[in-house]
């Protein structure tokens, strides 16, 4: 449990350092180890623990201060696709136990973060998922990750604010500190239309707020940095997380390959720090090689001024959309004939 006397491992590490390096890709790494497309990565926690240990050892050896467990799709809603909805406790606990052991034998302080991805369901009233049901599924997963020994829960790739709030409530029920990132992949906003400013407000009004918040995945490194600038413009109180993809996916020789080089991700890491992020990592396509380059760049490059949008595109390439969705609409609102009451 969290008490004032013993701060959690992530807060303790944040208190001693200006920035922390998180980890990179899970899915793309597991493919390269032989995971079949469409198969559940989480079942490997039980079926192939040795491979999961290798997965975790990659970022730890590359210098990551934080790494995520292999439990992104570990809610009942997601495991149901593989008829494993009754194995939530088993696969999440296994994900955490292997990670705990890797961290404890790392020879330095490494934080284990229990990954919790979206349920994939649509929240009511558009869809069928109620806040109560979402909280229940996340809570079940959170308890298992806690019991397996994670230091902090790590909610990621969320697009609906209601689902983010449900995960916060689950973390509270599990008595765990947490971090939470959303995916800003649709014209600068999340798929559900949430802007960076919306997210800062959402985080501020949660009863059990995250230790840190931010963005992951989305559409490439440039977009992710524009998102971080959007957070920074709000002057948030909490540390900001930047976990962007290593470029965009290409299909090369039968494999998914993200086209961002280690040099590009190194430049991204430094720009992310200068933009205001304190926890910096990668997402899809980010290998230990990328992480090593990112760590070296963060250590060797003195902090610089906050980058401009032009500076970001010059270093990393263009954005996927004209605006980040926080400003006035890019087109005038639709002119209605008459408004209904």
């Amino acid at each position: 449990m969290i008490t004032a006397a013993t701060p959690d491992a992530l807060s303790a590490l944040l208190a001693t350092r200006d920035w922390l390096l998180a980890d990179g890709a899970t899915g793309t790494t597991l493919f390269n180890m032989g995971l079949g497309s469409g198969d559940a990565p989480e079942l490997w926690n039980v079926d192939h623990p040795g491979r999961i240990r290798t997965l975790y050892a990659g970022p730890v050896a590359a210098g990551s201060d934080i790494f995520l467990t292999n439990s992104f799709g570990g809610t009942a809603a997601r495991l149901k696709l593989h008829d494993a909805q009754r194995r939530v406790a088993e696969v999440n606990r296994a994900a955490a136990e292997i990670a705990r052991d890797v961290a404890d034998t790392a020879g330095r302080r490494v934080v284990v973060a229990g990954s919790m991805g979206p349920t994939g369901e649509i929240m009511a009233p558009m869809g069928t998922l109620t806040p109560a049901l979402a909280t229940e599924m996340f809570h079940q997963q959170a308890d298992a990750l806690r019991d397996g020994g994670v230091d902090v829960l790590w909610v990621e790739t969320i697009s609906a604010p209601e689902e983010y709030a449900a995960a916060a409530e689950a973390a509270r029920l599990a008595g765990m500190p947490w971090c939470g990132t959303m995916s800003f992949d649709t014209a600068g906003r999340t798929m559900m239309g949430t802007t960076t400013a919306d997210m800062v407000k959402l985080v501020a009004r949660l009863a059990h707020p995250p230790l840190a918040f931010g963005a992951n995945c989305g559409v490439g490194a440039s977009d992710l940095l524009r998102t971080v600038l959007g957070f920074a413009a709000q002057g948030p109180e909490r540390p900001v997380i930047a976990k962007g993809n290593a470029g965009i996916p290409k299909f090369v020789d039968g494999h998914i390959h993200y086209d961002g080089t280690p040099a590009l991700m190194a430049a991204y890491a430094v720009l992310a720090r200068d933009a205001g992020a304190r926890i910096i990592g990668g997402c899809c396509g980010t290998t230990p090689e990328h992480l090593r380059a990112m760590r070296a760049a963060l250590e060797d490059t003195p902090p610089g001024p906050r980058p401009t949008l032009e500076g970001i595109t010059a270093a990393l390439g263009g954005f996927s959309s004209l605006a980040d969705g926080t400003g006035p609409a890019t087109a005038p609102p639709r002119d209605r004939r008459r408004r209904r009451t």
Partner: protein, 233 residues
């Protein structure tokens, strides 16, 4: 803003159709259902109601989604309103032998639960006059092949939203090649992480970045296919 109450039945045809475009945009299902019935009662053919009122209206929604003005919640509401209108029109379209654009089998690949994009494409394709067979989520290659054999569609549509499931679309296409049936179908793929290069690399005919593009692409490919198989003079 409270203004004069709009009485749909008092609007002339042209204004009613414009009002339906607004109501689709705002996701007002009962209003759409009422207006569809009104137009039918006024002697409009089901096909004309479909194209001039519903499809045109959804095209506006699709364009604003593409341009980052609307997001998924608004589009889901609009699609739901359209569904209400379609439920009335569908049996009538069959009865009256309205022109058929073509047939599509669509589904999200194995391991992927996400079906928002796929559902939007299915709705827009139906709205454009295509017959759509929706296989739902989590489809293994056998499910796709069975459906192709059973339904004999013009188009196969596949959707994936995760890095871990994107390559499965290639598994399906490779299997179709191995069975010698790849070229019997137009294969369209979509999903947030994909792009045109990716679509080409896995052997699809086209990548469609959103539902509106999917409809345009499907129309173009079907027209080309029909031209190819037209008997030579």
């Amino acid at each position: 803003m409270a203004e004069d109450e709009i009485i749909l039945s008092e609007l002339p045809d042209d204004e009613l159709v414009l009002q339906m475009h607004d109501d689709l945009y705002d996701g007002l299902r009962p209003e759409i259902e009422e207006a569809v019935t009104l137009l039918l009662d006024r002697g409009w053919s089901p096909y004309r109601v479909l194209t001039e009122a519903l499809v045109s209206g959804m095209t506006i929604v699709g364009n604003d989604f593409r341009d980052g003005i609307l997001f998924v919640p608004e589009v889901l509401l609009a699609a739901n309103a359209m569904k209400g209108g379609m439920a009335i029109l569908k049996p009538l379209l069959v009865e009256t032998g309205a022109p058929r654009m073509g047939k599509m089998v669509i589904g999200t690949v194995k391991g992927d639960i996400h079906d928002i994009g796929k559902n939007l494409v299915a709705m827009m394709m139906e709205g454009a006059g295509f017959e759509v067979v929706d296989l739902g989520i989590n489809n293994a290659v056998e499910k796709y092949l069975d459906a192709l054999a059973r339904e004999r569609p013009d188009i196969l549509g596949m959707s994936a939203l995760l890095t871990t499931t994107m390559p499965y679309m290639k598994v399906v296409i490779d299997t179709m090649k191995a069975e010698g049936i790849r070229d019997d179908y137009i294969v369209l793929v979509g999903g947030a992480p994909l792009n045109e290069d990716f679509g080409r690399a896995i052997g699809a005919d086209a990548y469609c970045r959103d539902a509106a593009v999917a409809v345009e692409t499907a129309r173009a490919f079907v027209a080309r296919k029909h031209n190819q198989i037209a008997p030579s003079p």
